[in-house]
Symmetry: D2
Subunit: 362 residues, 4 copies
C-alpha cells in the first residue's frame, strides 16, 4: 500500500486487498510487544519496521522470548528507521518525546499513538498535568480520540488517532451511554479503579518489583493521576458541561487486568433497569463490549488477554444510586488491542480482524 493522502480525511477501503506495512515505534515495551503479539496472525498487516533505541540491533526474540517464533526484522534506532517502507505506525513511546517524533513522520502515514501526548484537546491542560508546554499543537488539533465504540466514524478517517488510556477506557465505555441518555447525574461520580502492574511498563522501578507488589494492594496518585483530565474531558464532552470526578486508582498483584467500580447517582425517576437496558441496547451490536446478565459480576480474569470489556450495573442500598462495574485487559482493550481495532478501522478492514482470540482463563 502506498498512501499519498494527507493524514486526515481519506478512507483506505480501496486498498484493503493489499498488505498494510506497519511500523511499531517503541517495540521493547509492553504495549509494543502486545501489538506484535496481536499482529502475528493478522491477515493484512505486516510489520516492516520496529524501533527501540536502547535495543537497536537486537531481534524481538532476544528482548521478548515469547515472540521468538516471529519472523521479523531486527529492531533499529528510531533515527535509522526507513519510513518509506511503511503505511501505518503504532507509536508506543513515552509521553513527552512522542510529540516531536510524530511531528517528524512523513505526512502520508496513518498513526495510532498509544502515549498520552495527543489525548487532551486543551493544550493548556496538557501543560498543567504533564508539566511542559505541548510542542505539536497543530497536530493536536487533527488528532482524533480513539475510543472506538464512541468515536468510530471520526476514527475511520483520522490520520492521527490518540489511543485512550486504560483507566479512561474502562470508565468511559460504561458511563458515556448513560450520560448521553441523561440517566445519571454527572455531579457525583466516584470511581474506584484497580489495575494490574503491566500498566506501569517494563522500566525497572522499586515500586514495581515482585516483592513490593505481591500479596498486597494500595492506592496511588489519589486525585492526581494523569488520567483524570482525560476522563473528565470524555465525560464533559457528552455531558455538555464540565464534569469533575473522584478517581482513585489502586495497584494490585496481577500482571494484566483492570476493574473500575463506579458509584453514581441516577437522574430523578430512573431505575436500575433503565441503566441496564440503555447499556444493553447501546452495545447490542458491538463485538467487544459485553453487557452481562442481571446479577452477574464482571471479573478481570474473564477478559484476560482479550479485547473484551465486560460491564454490569447493580442497585445500591441507598435508593437512587447505582454501582457500575467494568473490566478490561489494560494491555489489550486498554492499549494495544484498541489501537489495532482503530487501525483496522482506519485501513478499511473489519474492526475485529486479528482481535477475536478468546480470553485466557484460568
Amino acid at each position: 500500500m502506498v498512501a499519498s493522502s494527507p493524514r486526515t480525511l481519506q478512507a483506505s477501503n480501496d486498498k484493503a486487498h493489499e498488505d498494510v506495512r506497519v511500523a511499531v515505534l517503541g517495540a521493547s515495551g509492553y504495549t509494543g510487544s502486545e501489538i506484535i503479539r496481536l499482529l502475528a496472525n493478522h491477515p493484512h498487516f505486516r510489520i516492516t519496521v520496529m524501533t527501540a533505541d536502547r535495543k537497536a540491533g537486537q531481534s524481538i526474540g532476544s528482548v521478548f522470548p515469547h515472540l521468538i517464533t516471529q519472523d521479523l526484522p531486527d529492531m533499529v534506532a528510531i533515527k535509522d528507521a526507513n519510513f518509506g517502507d511503511v503505511d501505518a505506525v503504532f507509536c508506543c513511546l513515552p509521553h513527552g518525546t512522542t510529540q516531536d517524533i510524530i511531528k517528524s513522520l512523513p505526512k502520508n502515514l496513518r498513526v495510532v499513538d498509544l502515549s498520552a501526548d495527543f489525548r487532551l484537546q486543551d493544550i493548556l491542560e496538557y501543560e498543567e498535568w504533564y508539566g511542559q508546554p505541548h510542542r505539536a499543537p497543530d497536530l493536536q488539533k487533527e488528532a482524533v480520540y480513539g475510543l472506538t465504540e464512541i468515536w468510530r466514524e471520526e476514527i475511520r478517517n483520522a490520520g492521527l488517532v490518540a489511543n485512550p488510556g486504560c483507566y479512561p477506557t474502562s470508565i468511559q465505555l460504561p458511563l458515556i451511554p448513560l450520560i448521553k441518555a441523561n440517566l445519571i447525574k454527572c455531579s457525583h461520580i466516584i470511581i474506584d479503579s484497580k489495575s494490574g502492574v503491566s500498566g506501569a511498563g517494563r522500566s525497572p522501578k522499586e515500586a514495581n518489583l515482585f516483592t513490593e507488589v505481591s500479596e498486597g494492594i494500595h492506592a496511588y496518585g489519589i486525585t492526581k493521576h494523569r488520567h483524570v483530565p482525560e476522563i473528565e474531558q470524555g465525560l464533559s464532552d457528552v455531558a455538555h458541561s464540565k464534569v469533575t470526578v473522584s478517581f482513585t486508582p489502586h495497584l494490585m498483584p496481577m500482571s494484566r487486568g483492570m476493574l473500575s467500580t463506579i458509584y453514581v447517582e441516577m437522574a430523578p425517576g430512573v431505575r436500575i433497569e433503565d441503566l441496564h437496558d440503555q447499556l444493553k441496547a447501546y452495545y447490542e451490536n458491538e463485538e467487544f463490549v459485553c453487557m452481562l446478565k442481571k446479577g452477574d459480576t464482571p471479573h478481570t480474569r474473564f477478559v484476560r488477554g482479550s479485547n473484551y470489556c465486560h460491564v454490569n450495573v447493580f442497585p445500591d442500598r441507598n435508593p437512587g444510586k447505582a454501582i457500575i462495574i467494568s473490566v478490561i485487559d489494560n494491555l489489550v482493550k486498554g492499549a494495544s488491542g484498541q489501537a489495532l481495532q482503530n487501525l483496522n478501522l482506519m485501513m478499511g478492514y473489519p474492526e475485529t480482524t486479528g482481535l477475536l482470540s478468546q480470553p485466557l482463563f484460568p
Copy 2:
C-alpha cells in the same frame, strides 16, 4: 486460674500472675490456627483444649504444619472437651452453630466469639441477614461488641465478647472518631473494600481455588454482604441515627490483607486537616491504630501478619469531600489478633501482650 465469677462484671486483675488456661474451639480453620500462632509466645495464656470435630484425634502439626513445633494437646471433638480445665475460650466456629455451643458452656468462662452470632444487637436483623431465628437471645443481650479501641471499658468486664468482622473493623476504626466529632455526613458514605482470600476460610470451594483467584479481581456480595448490618449498627450507634452505607467488597489475589477506600462528604466548614487531626488525636495513645503522615498511602503489605491498622485521609477533587483509606490484616486485627487483644483486656493483662510482632514484609 479458677474463675468462679459470673460471666460479666468481674475484673481478673488479681489473678494476672497465674496462667490462663485457654480453649480454642474450631482449631482447624484459619482463625483458629491464627490464635494458636499468636499464643505460641504469650507469657500468660496456655492452650489446654483444642476442638475440631472432623480432625478429632489429630495433632495441630498434622493439620497445620507451620505449628509443628508447638507442644499442644491433640484436637478433640467439642462434645469430648473438658471445660473444667479452662478459664477462657476463643470460639472460632461457623455462625449458626456457635450460639448453641456458647449457650452450653460453663457460665464462669470468659468467651471471645469470632463468629457473627453475637454481633448484631437486634435479633430480628440477625434473622433477616442470616435466614434463621436467633437461638440465644438472652446471651445476645449480655454480649459486648469487641472493637477494642472503641469499646474498651465495656470489653474489660464482659463475659462474652462478640469479636468484630474484618470489614467492619477496617471501616469503623477510621469512621467512628469522625462521626463522633461530627466531621462527616453520614448520609453519603461509600465504602469500596478489597480483601484477601483467607477471609473465606479453609473449606474447599471452587471460587477460592488458586486458579480462580490468581491474577484477577472481582466484586462479590454487592449490597448483600452480611457485614453490612454490622457496619451500619456500629456507625448508627455513634451517629445517633440510622446510617445506610454503600458497601462493595472485592476479592483479590492475596492471602491476607484488607483495604477499605471510603468516600465521604465532610460536614459544612470542615477541612481535610480537621479529619486528619481528629484521627491523629483520637488514636495518639493507641499501639495498634496508626495515623500516617500527610500524603502517605496505606498498603496492606505493611501490616501483614500484625495487629496494626494504618489509616490516612486524602482530599477529593470535589470540594467538601474526602477519601479515607485504612488497611489491616484480616486474620489479625480483623479476627484473631483483635480477639487476643480483647482477652488480654478481659484477663487484666496489658492489651498488647503477645501482639507486638512486627509486620512481615516483603
Copy 3:
C-alpha cells in the same frame, strides 16, 4: 462431514473442505474449556455437543464467563448427547469412567481422549497404578499415543488417540530424540518438574485453595505420581529396554505452566554440543518445539497460553553430565492444544490450524 469408517486406518483428507462436527465431553473442567477456547476461531471444527453431567442445561457462558461470547449449544448430560451430529470427540473426563464412555460411543467417531485411561499399553500396569482393572482392553490395543511430534504417522490414521499427560509431554519431547540417537544413558535420569495449579482441575480441594498455594512451593507424589509409568513407557519404547526414572513433581503458585529440569549422564564421548545439535536438527521443521539458542534459559511465562514447547541443554559442573530444561503450558501443549493438534492431523488439516496464537506475556 459424515464419517462411516471404522475407527482406525482411514484418512480424512478427502472431506477436509467440510466442517467437522465436534463433541466436547466434560466441558465444565479446565481441559474442556480450553478446547472450547482454542476452537473459537478454528476455521473447520464446529462444536455441536457439549456434555457436563452436573451442569446439564447450563450455557457455557454461565460456567465459564470468559467464553460468554461463544454461540454454542447448552451443555447436556452425557446420556442425553446425540452423537449422530458428531464426527469427532474430545473426551475431557476423569480417568476410570472414561473407558466405559468411549467404549459406548459410535464406532465411526474419531476420538481424542485427554484422560489417562488409554495411555498405558500394559493394562496390568494400568491396574497397578490406578487401582482397578482396565475395562476396555480391546480398545486399549487400538489406541495410539498422541505425542504428536513423535508419533505423527500413527496418529494420522488413529481412531482413538490417548493424549499424553502434561508431565510426560514436557519430559519426552526433549529426551526421546536424545535417546534415539544414543546420546544419553538411560540409567540415571533424574527429573525435577514444577507445575502450575490448573493441572489439578477445577474440583474444589483444600490443597488447591489460593491460600494453600500462593507464595510457596512443595513437592508431592514423590516417586508415586501416576505419570511415572507413562514417562517410563515412552522412554523405554525408544530405548528398547526398561527405563526407570526418578521423577519429583512440585506444585507452585501459577495457574498455567510447567518446567522440567532433567539431569542426565551423556554417553561416553558425547559433548553438550551434540545434545544441542541433535535436538535442533530433530525439531528443525516443527512449529511447536523450539530449541533455544545456546545459553538462553526457558521460562514458562514465554509459552503461556500457547502450544509451544521451549527447550535447551546446559553443561553440568560434573563432566559428562548435562542439564536439560523444557517448558510448556500444561493446559495447551500439555493437554488441550496437543489434543487439537492431534485432531487436526486425524482430520487431514494442517496440524497448526487454530493453534498459532502467540504466548501471552506478561
Copy 4:
C-alpha cells in the same frame, strides 16, 4: 556493654544482663529491614546506629513503612556513623565493598557479615567467582562460617562471623550430617533449588519486576551461581575431599521461601531409614531444624517468616538413591534470622532469643 576485647576469643556471658548496642549497616535493603523487624522485640539488643548511604537522614518508617512504629534513630551515611556507641554490627552491605568497611571498624566490635565477602576460605576462589582480588585476606583468616547448628562452638567466640548464603544454608543443613556419618556418596549430588524473589534484593531490575516474575518459573545461573563454591567448600570440609555438586537454582513467584530438592546416592548398604534416623538424631535438640515425620513433605509456606528449617528424606524409584528436601525462609534462616541466632550466641544469650515467632500461614 563496653567490649574492649580483641575481635576473637572472649565470651560475652558476663555482660549478658546489660543491653547490647547494635549497628545495622545497610538498613535500606531487605536483609537490613529483616534484622530490624526481628530485633523489635529482642529483650537485650538495642539498635543505636543504622546506615544507608542513599537514604541518609531518613527515618526507617519512611523507607520501610511496616517498621513505622519502631522508635529508632534516623539512618546515617556510613562515614558519619559513630561506632563508639556500638557493641556489635550486622553488616548487610553488597559484597565487594563490605571487605573495606569491616576492615575499618573498631577492632572490639563483634561483627556478623551477611555478604559473601568472608565466606570463602580460599581467597583465590573468591577472586575466581567474584572477579576481583580479596582486599582483606588477614581478616578472612579470622572469619568463622556462621552455619549455627554446625559451627556453634567456633561461632561463640568469633569476632567476625561470615553468615551463610541462603542456598548453602538450605543445602548444607541436611547434607552435612549425612556426609559426616558416611551415609551418602559425595560424587553424585544433584541439587535443584527454588527460591523466592526477595533474595535478589530491593534494587530495581527488569528481571525482578512483578510482571516478569509472576505466574512463571525459570532456572538461572545454571552451573555458575556464586553460591556454588560456598556449598562445595562446606561439603568438602566434612567429606575430607573435594566435592563437586550440580546446582541449579530457579526463580519463582513468591517473595520469601526456598526449597532445595537434593538427589543423592546412598553409600552401599545404607537404607532410607538410616538417613532419616541420622538427621532426626542429629537435630533432636535443635530448635530450628525440624526433621518431619516419614512421608510428610516440606512446604516453604510452613516456615514463612520464621527461622525454622523443615527437612525430610524420601526413597527414589531407583534403589540405592534418595531424595532429600529442605525448606527455609531465605530472609530468616537463610539470612537475617541466622545472623541474629549467631549474634545471640556470640553475646552469650540463648540462641533462640527473639527468634521464636511462629511461621505465618496462610
